[in-house]
């Protein structure tokens, strides 16, 4: 029961840290003014166009595709396999399981392999490509190690040493409804959950901030209309009231 209590507490803490940390960062990004119009052109000239540009960026990694087809392939496969895997995991937090979660279950089951393959390929680049090796720091390797660990331990449980999934689901639902249930003391599961906890704590204080950050990137989210509409940041507007050379 001690193990269950520790993990329950850690999951509450990690969730709080993740939510508060991300909210803090997002608020900071949103409230920091962008003094000048700097979309990388050619850029959309309407707000709708910007929404489409951002969608292409987030859903298809458009810019990365322009840059390097291999990095794009590995990166895209990893991210979308992970998305499927995460969505598939909703079945452990919902009762009854939502029908669309059931629908993706067959794909989600195998997406774990694609996720792992993508991660390993991305990691290999950090050793094999001289330029990427040069820019990779310890945290970059550790981050990949963490994600590989999560994916591998998950696949282990799915395909090699099954855990007591019914008890695990009871534990998860217990967390949500504040009706704590015991966590199966299965080493692979404990490893899997521990790594996930680390990921949750690391997210708001690491480069994983690229996920919310991309939406705030002025070179991607600004409308190209500086001649039509005057763009003015509050701190820059304050300079306007100072006397200048004009009449």
């Amino acid at each position: 029961m001690l193990l269950s209590t520790i993990f329950a507490v850690l999951f509450y803490l990690a969730t709080a840290f993740l939510v508060v940390g991300l909210a803090y960062k997002i608020r900071l990004y949103a409230r920091t003014p962008a003094p000048l119009k700097i979309p990388t052109t050619p850029a959309p000239v309407t707000q709708t166009g910007v929404v489409l540009r951002m969608f292409r960026e987030v859903a298809f990694f458009e810019s990365l595709f322009k840059s390097n087809k291999w990095t794009w392939l590995f990166g895209w496969v990893f991210h979308f396999a992970m998305l499927l895997v995460v969505l598939r995991h909703l079945r452990y937090f919902t009762e009854p399981v939502w029908s669309w979660v059931n629908l993706i279950q067959p794909f989600g089951k195998y997406a774990g392999f694609a996720m792992l393959a993508g991660l390993l390929a991305l990691w290999a680049r950090r050793f094999l490509v001289e330029r990427v090796r040069y820019i990779s720091g310890p945290s970059d390797h550790l981050m990949l190690m963490l994600l590989v660990g999560i994916a591998a331990s998950g696949l282990m449980m799915k395909y090699v040493v099954h855990t007591d999934i019914v008890a695990l689901k009871a534990f998860a639902l217990g967390l949500i409804y504040f009706n704590w249930q015991p966590l199966p003391a299965d080493p692979v599961l404990i490893l899997h959950l521990s790594l996930v906890l680390i990921l949750m704590f690391v997210f708001p204080i690491s480069k994983l901030l690229h996920a919310p950050g991309v939406f705030f990137s002025p070179s991607r989210n600004q409308v190209d209309n500086p001649r039509e509409k005057r763009h003015l940041a509050p701190w820059a507007a304050a300079l306007d009231s100072e006397p200048n050379g004009g009449e």
Binding site: T40, V45, P138, H210, G213, R230, L239
Partner: protein, 511 residues
């Protein structure tokens, strides 16, 4: 003299092996106290520079969303690593955009993030030391702020924003760059980068009018400070004297002449360039932009048109309305400002210019998209007009046009190597090496398609190419102004002496 004087042309897109530190010693002359103080910066490196630098970085993080997001967002994916012309030309890993950014990012992490404060080794955070400052001074002056890396970054991280911030920090601790800061002082005092005073400007342009008349037999005017003119032309001051820039200026004058337009140059705002962008100073940039506003108001013009200049057009198109607007005193029928290419293309489309393409038959042209026009601005109403309009003009005035390799033009264009405040003799080595991707692409079309000349619409590009092309075995006269081609092709007619008014448009067009 130096070992870079004979540079072999690379196979296109050959990515160099890393050569750490090879460009470490390449740094520009430091601004003298007088140049610094004229802009309100400390004359020399202040005693508590570390503290001041970190304080300034903190201030900039508050003021710029781009800087804040870009400091956090990089995942070191490597997408940008082979995109910078200075990296491709030197192999110095600190010229890879991500590594250049990291020079500032490691300081940001150390002083502004949890992980960097407590786990510096893990996340590559470092104390701000003299060595770091030296690296900043070298490598943030090996970025031409061309934004090519920002095209390929999955988060749109724009190294230009980061090098601007770094230069702004260095200015504020007393380590500014001589070239940019000295020039800005001249603009504030005299009105242009050259320090060309009103009298000299008027004389120069009168001489130029005579030259045009001698050559064409037509009196084409280049008015200065003409109150009540409809159009204020703001053009880089290099257009007044340098080659091939001046041939472009003659082209603008002929276009205005044929359109029967009433126009003028201002001596007070006789400079389109705004070098304050290079040093990342919003305040300085605003002061320079306000000169243009004041000139337009004093002369009572209805429209503002910019001549051929890359970063000037970025500042004009993207920033001027913000910096010195609103321009509600101008004629709302026209965008503020307009590019000379927009103006000329409009006349061509309306069939108001008589053009003899055969006048350019001795040349086969290619077009160099200037980086700041390509990735920091637009022309016309639709995205990409900045690529289509200049090409449309060239095709309207020349019979022979060939584009360079697709990955080296339009949004993927390579900087000339001299942008971003690097167009100074003390940076000749990096300028020469940084030009190699563009030169390689040019060589290819020279060999394969018989290209003889390259047209550009930027004063910096033109100066840079005229200077470095001989190193790559191409004559310095092979770089031409776009409006020089227009100038060659345009058929002038002789209006009655006293009738250079807009009303004569019809007669002029049907000549």
């Amino acid at each position: 003299m130096a070992d870079y004087e004979t540079i072999p042309i690379n196979t296109l897109f050959e990515i160099p092996k890393l050569n750490p530190g090879v460009m470490k010693e390449s740094s520009p002359f430091v601004a003298a106290p007088a140049h610094q103080e004229a802009l309100g910066f400390p004359g020399e490196l202040v005693d508590n520079w570390q503290e001041k630098a970190i304080e300034k970085l903190g201030e900039l993080l508050e003021k710029s969303r781009a800087l804040r997001v870009y400091m956090d967002g990089c995942v070191k994916c490597g997408a940008c690593t082979d995109k910078c012309h200075y990296f491709l030309g030197t192999g110095d890993p600190k010229n890879m955009p991500v590594a250049r950014q990291d020079l500032l990012r490691k300081i940001y992490r150390r002083y502004f993030t949890f992980s960097g404060k407590y786990f510096p080794k893990l996340v590559g955070a470092e104390d701000l030391t003299k060595e770091v400052l030296d690296d900043w001074y070298s490598y943030f002056h090996q970025c031409s702020q061309c934004r090519r890396c920002s095209v390929y970054c999955p988060y749109g991280i724009d190294t230009a924003e980061i090098s601007m911030a770094a230069r702004e920090i260095m200015d504020h601790i007393g380590k500014g760059q001589k070239y940019c800061n000295e020039i800005l002082g001249k603009v504030h005092k005299i009105g242009n980068n050259l320090g060309l005073p009103e009298k000299a400007l008027i004389n120069t342009l009168e001489d130029l009018e005579e030259d045009i008349e001698d050559e064409t037999g037509v009196k084409v005017r280049i008015p200065v400070n003409e109150k009540g003119a409809d159009i204020l032309l703001v053009t880089p001051s290099a257009d007044f004297f340098a080659e091939p820039h001046i041939d472009g200026l003659i082209g603008y004058a002929k276009v205005f002449h044929q359109a029967g337009a009433s126009w003028t140059v201002s001596s007070y705002a006789s400079e389109a360039a705004n070098f304050a962008m290079f040093i990342g100073s919003y305040e300085q940039m605003k002061l320079v932009a306000e000169r243009i506003r004041k000139a337009a108001q004093d002369l009572g013009v209805k429209r503002i048109i910019f001549g051929e200049c890359g970063h000037a057009w970025r500042v004009a198109y993207s920033f001027m309305n913000t910096l010195a607007g609103p321009f509600d005193f101008l004629d709302p029928a026209y965008p503020v400002p307009q590019h000379i290419c927009e103006y000329t293309w409009d006349l061509i489309q309306k069939d108001k210019l008589t053009l003899d393409k055969s006048a350019n038959d001795h040349m086969t042209l290619t077009f160099h998209d200037s980086c700041n026009v390509a990735r920091g601005s637009r022309m016309g109403d639709t995205p990409g007009g900045q690529f289509e309009i200049p090409r449309a003009i060239i095709k309207a005035v020349c019979n022979n046009f060939v584009d360079m390799a697709p990955d080296t033009i339009k949004e993927g264009t390579f900087c000339c190597g001299g942008g971003g405040g690097l167009l100074t003799d003390d940076l000749m080595e990096i300028r020469t090496k940084g030009a190699s991707p563009r030169m390689t692409a040019l060589q290819e079309v020279v060999k394969d398609s018989g290209v003889t000349h390259m047209a550009a619409i930027c004063a910096i590009c033109k100066t840079q190419f005229a200077k470095i092309m001989p190193t790559y075995g191409i004559g310095m006269d092979r770089i031409v102004s776009l409006h020089q081609l227009v100038s060659n092709a345009i058929v002038l007619d002789v209006p009655p002496e006293d009738e250079v008014e807009a009303e004569t448009n019809e007669d002029v067009a049907t000549a």
